[in-house]
Amino acid sequence: MFYQRHKVSLATPELRWTPFVTLLKKEIVRFLKVINQTVVTPLMNSSLYLLIFGVSLGRSIDLSSGVSYLAFLIPGLVTMSMLNNAFQNSSSSVLNSKFHGDIIDFKIAPFSTHQVVWALSLGALIRGFAVGAVTIGVSEVFHLVVKGSFLGIQHPLIFIYYLFVGTMTFASFGIIVGFWAKNFEQVNAIGGFILLPLIYLGGVFYSLENLHPFWRIVSQGNPLLYFINGIRYGVIGVSDVNIWTAFGVSVGSMIAMYLLSIRSVKTGSYIRW
């Protein structure tokens, strides 16, 4: 009994990986427990977008690049679903903990700040990729039905790179919102006034070339534009922005969000709502 009681404090190496792996596992189990809400609903949303915009309205839209509107829409839709779900996963995990009161577990258990950030981010990344996979699946079905063939991926490595960096960036953003938010109103305000405009004005549904030159310049201040176009370049080889600029913005955004998420875990609010 005496030996057993001293097991943990003497076995510090066990605190290096097991807490991180356990928290990551908990994050995955958490979203799988409500899979209808976390994976099936986004699949439904994407199907509706594809049906309304890609198939119905898309027939009357011509792009100068010669790419079909459906093929143009699919990468944007995949990005939107993945990034949005990554954000939702990490932010709701922290917010739910604040609501239930178990937020203090992050403080009283022997986690390092990096362990918390990485576990929450990777949990969000996995949900983002799960949603991305089903979105790609249903999109390919639509493309096959409408165009008679699957939509191929022109640059797979670039495609994977932007998916990873974009999802991690928005997962970190979710952590920041989760830890710094003091009430649900603040969260809703960030979702409604920041995230939603960024997503819808980031070029998911339209090309920059269709915008007035003034709005084209304004849009270039939206970091999401670069993730969407990076992924679009990866899939169909077409982008509204310079691919190297997109690379710089994506890396810069991910690093900035990661550093801010570290700060938010250290200085955030652990008070129960």
């Binding site: 943990v8 928290l23 009161g101 258990a109």
Partner: protein
């Protein structure tokens, strides 16, 4: 087996104590929230293997001290050490060696009792902890509820669950912040019984409670804090002795003449009520008040309680 367990107990409780740093050492600890000084220059040391009661009225600073020990809050100045390690410098080490039962009941969303305990074990580096989890669930009488979500448990069951959660990693130090608030008497007794058992196995326990009668029975020592300052600290029995008076009631079958003594608080034809320092014996009192024993039909003695000592300490503050 008996010998082995006996030696473990002796080594754990007495020999190791000589070499182990204190479970808790507070050194000029200060915690301010804006202009509010919640903890004002508090210093004390907890002894290995003891049950220490941290007592005080609401807002005294008890939860602030516990929040600093659990790393939920940073001290404004001063230091708090757990087993010789500063909580502000080596959080991981100090967190791994303590278990914490918070005052507030918590829920865990979608997760069941067993899932939460499994995850919590992992947070403390224990990937496979089924034996300890099952032991705690059985010991605390919640094994049959292991597949229920936390929100489906009653208040008392939630308390038991929180204690199990705090003990999954077999901590050497257990912090109990009002663990029996709002709990019925039967469950309170069983929880205190379990706390005693843990203490007998060598776990040091810091406890805050408003049930002073129970604290008196359970705590080896108590520290009374008020308005952020440490007012009194010492062995429970000694503190009660020093800070209270004994009440002696003489029932009379024959009225007696008026007694002139500072120890006599009231006198009637049927009874005389005296108050004496806790160190004074009945014989000494009898000698001082010159009461004829032939008129006495009965004597009732009421010893001082921790509650009275507590109130006296607060009134002196």
């Amino acid at each position: 087996m008996l010998t082995h367990s006996f030696f473990n107990k002796i080594i754990g409780k007495y020999v190791i104590r000589l070499f182990m740093p204190s479970p808790i050492l507070l050194n000029h600890l200060v915690k301010n929230y804006g202009k509010v000084q919640a903890v004002q220059d508090i210093s004390f040391e907890m002894k290995e293997g003891e049950v220490l009661g941290l007592l005080g009225p609401n807002g005294a600073g008890k939860t602030s001290i516990i929040s600093i020990l659990t790393s939920l809050e940073k001290p404004t100045s001063g230091e708090a050490k757990i087993f010789g390690i500063d909580v502000a410098l080596e959080e991981k080490q100090t967190k791994a060696s303590l278990g914490f039962v918070p005052q507030e009941l918590v829920s865990h969303g979608f997760f069941t009792v067993e899932e939460v305990l499994r995850f919590h074990s992992g947070y403390f580096g224990l990937a496979d902890n089924k034996a300890q989890i099952d032991y705690l669930l059985n010991k605390l009488g919640i094994y049959i509820h292991k597949d229920k979500k936390i929100r489906e448990l009653s208040g008392g069951m939630k308390r038991r669950f929180l204690i199990a959660k705090a003990l999954v990693h077999r901590p050497k130090l257990l912090l109990l912040d009002e663990p029996t608030a709002g709990v019925d008497i039967e469950l309170r007794n069983s929880l205190w019984e379990f706390v005693r058992e843990l203490n007998n196995q060598g776990t040091s326990i810091l406890l805050t409670t408003h049930y002073l009668e129970e604290a008196e029975k359970l705590c080896d020592r108590v520290a009374i804090i008020h308005l952020g300052k440490l007012r009194q600290m010492g062995k429970t029995a000694e503190l009660v002795k020093n800070m209270t008076q004994r009440q002696i009631v003489f029932q009379l079958h024959t009225p007696t003449s008026s007694l002139q003594s500072p120890y006599v608080k009231s006198q009637s034809d049927k009874q005389i009520i005296c108050q004496i320092p806790a160190g004074m014996e009945l014989g000494e009192l009898m000698g001082k008040i010159h009461l004829d024993t032939k008129v006495i039909s009965d004597i009732r003695i009421k010893e001082g309680t921790l509650e009275e000592a507590f109130l006296n300490v607060l009134s002196e503050a």
